[in-house]
């Protein structure tokens, strides 16, 4: 009686496992990406000792991949002071004169001190990778 049950379980499990293998073959399982750097830690439930302080965990960052090319480092160091470079990758492809105007606004209106010799490097980079003619990513 007992053995029968065990055998039944073994056979059933075998069938299920085979079916599962067949089924899983249809899926791409276990795909993980190095790009998922935006994980946030799960907060512990609040404790009474926390009193009147209300908090959340650190906000995650999702750094974009800027197009490789001359001027990328300048963009990363000067444009990312106040905002992440996702501000660039989020935009639609923009005409070259719009990119020049945006950089000009960041300097004159927003007050970002970009050295004069670096300004054209940044503008050229944006114009080389983020216009309707050349944007790829």
């Amino acid at each position: 009686m007992r053995y029968t049950t065990v055998w039944l379980i073994v056979v059933f499990t075998g069938f299920t496992a085979a079916a599962a293998r067949l089924m899983y073959a249809q899926f791409d399982a276990g795909q993980y990406s190095q790009k998922n750097s935006g994980a946030i830690a799960q907060p512990a439930p609040p404790a009474e000792a926390d009193g009147a302080s209300y908090s959340v965990t650190a906000y995650p960052l999702y750094p974009p991949e800027l197009a490789p090319g001359a001027g990328r480092e300048a963009v990363q160091s000067y444009c990312a002071t106040c905002h992440s470079t996702r501000y660039i990758t989020m935009q639609p492809p923009l005409p070259p004169e719009t990119w020049a105007a945006e950089v000009d606004k960041m300097i004159k209106v927003m007050g970002q001190p970009i050295p004069e010799d670096v300004q054209p490097v940044i503008i050229k980079y944006l114009q080389a990778h983020y216009t309707p003619e050349n944007r790829k990513r």
Binding site: G38, A52, P92, P93
Partner: protein, 434 residues
């Protein structure tokens, strides 16, 4: 948030049902026929493009990845510093948007991760006889609590639909939400501070700071309302959102609620109220968030270049409506009745007429309006439809508000990318029933 729980459970059931369906066909279906199709679904799943343009964004939401943030359900990422997150379409099936799904838009990157209410105070200063420093318990106990259901919509909602495209946050349609806001009356608070007779405007500032130099828009975010503006009488300093404390990203501990006005005035983590005796000339009033002083705020790139466009600060939200389901992702079945559902709102008073077209706007039928939650709330609507035969249909939705404003079928263009309210469309494919 029972509404929300129901929603997620339904979502879960749907995914389980889908998974079960796939499993069933994988196990017992005709393998020869199904194998290539399924590997297409799993292995080569098509993803949205990483950007849209120079044509209009053809999707309902923006195309960014879906990401996780504290106190939030997965939302669509626009930028991570400052944080800008968009609400996915399906959350608009209900009149109230769950706090966890509510969109997020900050202007500056140094925003609070923690607020200690034993230290935090809301200060009322400037041209007042009696400056105030109010704690959270002052706000909840010394002022009569008021509640209002009101839509909070980003001025740039749907910016990605403009032609030509304009720089800025490339929102789809999900930079909006509706909540029941509870808090202290702004008018009562200003009265208790006794505004001086020379005062002109009242300025609001939160706890957010930017890394730009002092005196620039990149350092502080400041917004003002004219003291003569009657919207001050409807405004609330909200400490509750849908009967819960505000999520940190939506402006904990309190935010300004300006019913009917675009969200730019709804200052988050509000901590300074400054009564001014002169006009506010800061960047966020004088340069940003301004619209052409023309019908619908419409203009064109040539007139802007020619310096011909006079601008005024953006204020009320024009009438809008959205189709939420069907969403075009799945085929409908010929002769099988479905319900077309959505939401509508206006900053100029309740939506009192809702029309739906299933022939791309050639003919219109009246939809049924859902329960009213006051003049500033989303209002749900629905209409039954039986697709007569297989093919492609273009659904359209058109709202009319209490002031008689009807949604137009023309887009709008201005350099800020504001005030989009064109009739929305949804293309659906109907398959054969047998």
């Amino acid at each position: 948030m029972n509404e929300h729980r129901r929603l997620s459970r339904r979502g879960l059931l749907q995914s389980l049902a889908t998974a079960a369906g796939v499993a069933a066909t994988a196990g017992f279906g005709a393998a020869t026929n199904l194998l290539p199709q399924q590997s297409q679904v799993s292995g080569d799943e098509k993803l949205l493009p990483t950007f849209t343009g120079p044509a209009p964004n053809p999707y309902w939401n923006s195309v960014g990845p879906v990401v996780q943030y504290p106190q939030k359900f997965p939302l669509v990422l626009l930028t991570d510093r400052p944080i800008q997150l968009e609400t996915p379409r399906h959350y608009f099936e209900t009149a109230f948007t769950p706090n966890g799904a509510f969109y997020v838009r900050w202007h500056l990157d140094e925003i609070p991760n923690a607020v200690d209410l034993s230290v935090w105070r809301l200060s009322v200063e400037g041209s007042v006889e009696r400056p105030l420093k109010l704690s959270m318990s002052d706000l909840t106990s010394k002022f009569k609590p008021l509640s209002v259901a009101a839509v909070n919509q980003c001025s740039g909602n749907s910016r990605s639909k403009l032609q030509p495209r304009v720089p800025g946050g490339q929102w789809g349609d999900g930079a909006m939400g509706n909540a029941k806001w509870t808090g202290a009356s702004l008018r009562e608070l200003l009265d208790s501070a006794k505004i001086k007779p020379d005062a002109l405007a009242v300025q609001f500032q939160g706890l957010d700071k930017g890394k730009g130099p002092e005196g620039r828009g990149s350092h502080e975010f400041l917004k003002s309302l004219d003291l003569k503006d009657s919207v001050l009488d409807d405004s609330i300093i909200a400490y509750a959102m849908n009967d819960e404390p505000l999520p940190m990203l939506n402006g904990f501990p309190v935010r300004l609620v300006v019913p009917g006005y675009f969200a730019t005035y709804w200052v988050k983590s509000l901590s300074f109220i400054r009564v001014l005796d002169k006009a506010d000339e800061n960047f966020w009033m004088k340069t940003a968030y301004r619209v052409p002083d023309t019908p619908r705020g419409n203009t064109n790139p040539e007139d802007v270049k020619g310096g011909k466009v006079r601008t005024v600060p953006i204020t009320r939200m024009p009438v809008r409506s959205f189709i939420v389901t069907p969403n075009g992702e799945k085929k409908l079945i010929a002769q099988l009745p479905v319900i077309i559902r959505g939401i509508a709102f206006s900053g100029y008073g309740s939506v009192n007429k809702m029309e739906v077209s299933v022939d791309n706007g050639k003919s219109w039928a009246s939809a049924q309006l859902g329960e009213g939650h006051g003049p500033y709330s989303f209002r749900t609507w629905s209409i039954a439809w039986t697709p007569p035969h297989p093919g492609r249909y273009v659904l359209a939705a058109r709202a009319t508000d209490g002031k008689g404003n009807v949604q137009p079928d023309e887009g709008v263009w201005n350099p800020g990318g504001y005030l989009w309210n064109r009739i929305e469309r949804e293309q659906v494919v109907v398959g054969r029933a047998s």
